[in-house]
Symmetry: C2
Subunit: 366 residues, 2 copies
């Protein structure tokens, strides 16, 4: 078992990484509350696999361990589903000392964390991510929220977990497509912040695809360390934290255009990173050879490197409501080099070119 | 014009108190943002009276000044109404630099503040309270949220405004019933924290009912000073701030039992304070003569001093989901003396007696 500390003053917390952590009550000892309730929030896919195991590990620590099962899928990341968590908390008379456990992927984590942020104006929560994507990215950093028909994650809160428990064993039940989607975020961490890790990924991608235990543990630890360092410096994304959104401006537009849930988040981010790297090349920031290395690695991971064939204007419209649009000007996360990113504006003409170079339809084709 | 500072480190802000502030652009200069949007959120009652005036004062400070009008009433303090604010922000492509202005009473302030807390994980907001209750209480301190069918303010956030502008002039359009409801919170501030102010209220209640300008300004300033001092010490209600809930545990139960919006919040708090004072007397904390003075002052303000004639069990059930129930034990705000309060548990038998002494039906009557 290894751990990574997220330093945030009184809201600091640990990420525990290892195999079999879910089955060990000791993993959760630091959030024990003998007189309070724990509510395990999961979904219809994950609950049958792991909720009993987690509940058994929590039993020694709480007066009551309750369960709330949500429908599975990004398309349910909405108010109706969020309200199921509030209903469960209220029906069971959970008070301010209750602790919410998010057992699942990014959607379960985002909804549960937001429910914890809002219930009685804030209760504690713990992330127990069961997807690679959630283990390396979404469970760390306190971003919580739901989607609005007009945009992804438009409604939410910064609410840090008290603990993150990343059990590598649970990744064994992950469908291959979701594993691949998680690799997109793993590759992202290397691309924006860690040249050495990117090179490691080029050598060890097959080990990760085969779920080789030491390789997975190394990748999760490395990604969490990178993310923890960035979040500690910029909790609410006024600066450096925005770099973690590499590929996300284009990725969100893909997800919105296709309908939430059709493309997995990681898949959309993969194609989005290719477009963002193309934009970096055309702005003269990045060597084209780096774009090729990034594209190659994503391809090897079985990820899409083209955006869906939709009119480029549709993408531009969707990106304008993306939350990174400040004062009307979109800013993009761009690569300077492998392992180094920056935030900058770009002319619409170049953005259009970059999108069209990787799958979008130019106006004339539409 | 006078001002009260709420000291909360980097989130400190001023409460401006005076006559005619709404019509003066200078009142809002400290939150000016030349390249961003302001969204004025109001309701169908207040918008026709004051939205034009506020928008004109904001015009010099923002690129765009938008408006969102909500239905009026506590029964609309729900997700559907909250979503109208999100819809307006998204339809107008408002970004993270936008500022939300809450123009109205406590419901508008709570909904708008919660919308600001959640939109893109948090944008700034300004309170422009138009009721006495909002000016002396709900606009200060950053409590925001909405109701759930199972309980009042169950879903929300602590999100401090950047500025509060309390214009005494707008109180002239307030229906007498709402003015009286506001006086309940004014009297509460004296009862829990300021003996001298309570005595002042006994002498000047008629001036307040007549909306005598210097008297109103003094009362608003006094209440805001008391609340600012308490909030500065305990922003998230882990201790002293709970004392501001004097009368609220019973009051919320009244509001829930009658259906949100049937009793005004201040009316419910008035009757709730009488029950809480009765409980203080029966626990041997308070002299019965103080209860009489409190009851007398509330009566002179035209406020109810009896709870609705409902079975006492109904009240107890509703109070158990109230957010002050910790580890299953309800804690009540009780008076030690005029101007001094404390938080304590009380046996159900005494709570039942106190409720029945002031209007609730004992089991046998039901």
């Amino acid at each position: 078992m290894s751990s990574v500390r997220v330093e945030l003053g009184s809201r600091s917390y640990d990420i525990l990484i290892g195999s079999g952590l879910l089955a060990q009550p000791a993993s959760f000892a630091c959030v024990a509350r003998a007189r309070a309730s724990a509510l395990v929030v999961s979904n219809t896919t994950v609950a049958p696999l792991y909720a009993d195991r987690l509940q058994a590990s929590l039993q020694p620590h709480y007066a009551r361990v309750l369960r709330c099962v949500l429908p599975d899928g990004e398309q349910y990341k909405d108010w109706q589903t969020l309200n199921l968590v509030f209903d469960a908390l209220l029906a069971q008379h959970c008070d301010r000392r209750s602790v919410v456990y998010a057992l699942g992927g990014g959607v379960v984590g985002d909804i549960s964390g937001f429910a914890a942020a809002c219930y009685m104006r804030g209760v504690d929560f713990v992330q127990v991510p069961t997807t690679l994507l959630a283990q390396v990215d979404s469970s760390v950093g306190g971003k919580t929220g739901i989607n609005h028909p007009a945009g992804k994650n438009m409604i939410g809160a910064f609410h840090q977990p008290r603990l993150v428990v990343a059990d590598s064993e649970v990744l064994r039940s992950l469908p291959r497509r979701e594993l691949q989607a998680g690799l997109a975020e793993v590759i992202k961490h290397g691309a924006i912040a860690d040249l050495e890790f990117f090179a490691w990924l080029e050598h060890h991608l097959d080990d990760l695809l085969a779920l080789d235990a030491p390789a997975v543990a190394h990748a999760v630890h490395r990604c969490c360390s990178i993310k923890a360092r960035i979040v500690s410096r910029d909790e609410t994304e006024s600066g450096a934290r925005a770099l973690l959104n590499f590929g996300h401006t284009f990725g969100h537009a893909i997800e919105a255009a296709m309908g939430w849930g059709r493309w997995l988040h990681g898949e959309a981010v993969a194609a989005g990173m290719v477009v963002a790297a193309e934009l970096s090349v055309s702005l003269g920031l990045l060597d084209r050879q780096i774009l090729s290395r990034l594209r190659e690695l994503l391809l090897r991971a079985g990820l899409p490197v083209q955006v869906p064939a939709l009119p480029v204007a549709r993408y531009l419209d969707l990106m304008r409501v993306d939350k990174k649009a400040e004062g009307g000007t979109l800013r993009y996360v761009l690569l300077d080099a492998l392992g180094s990113a920056r935030l900058a504006a770009a002319p619409d003409a170049l953005v259009t070119e970059a999108l069209c170079a990787h799958g979008a339809l130019a106006q004339a084709d539409a």
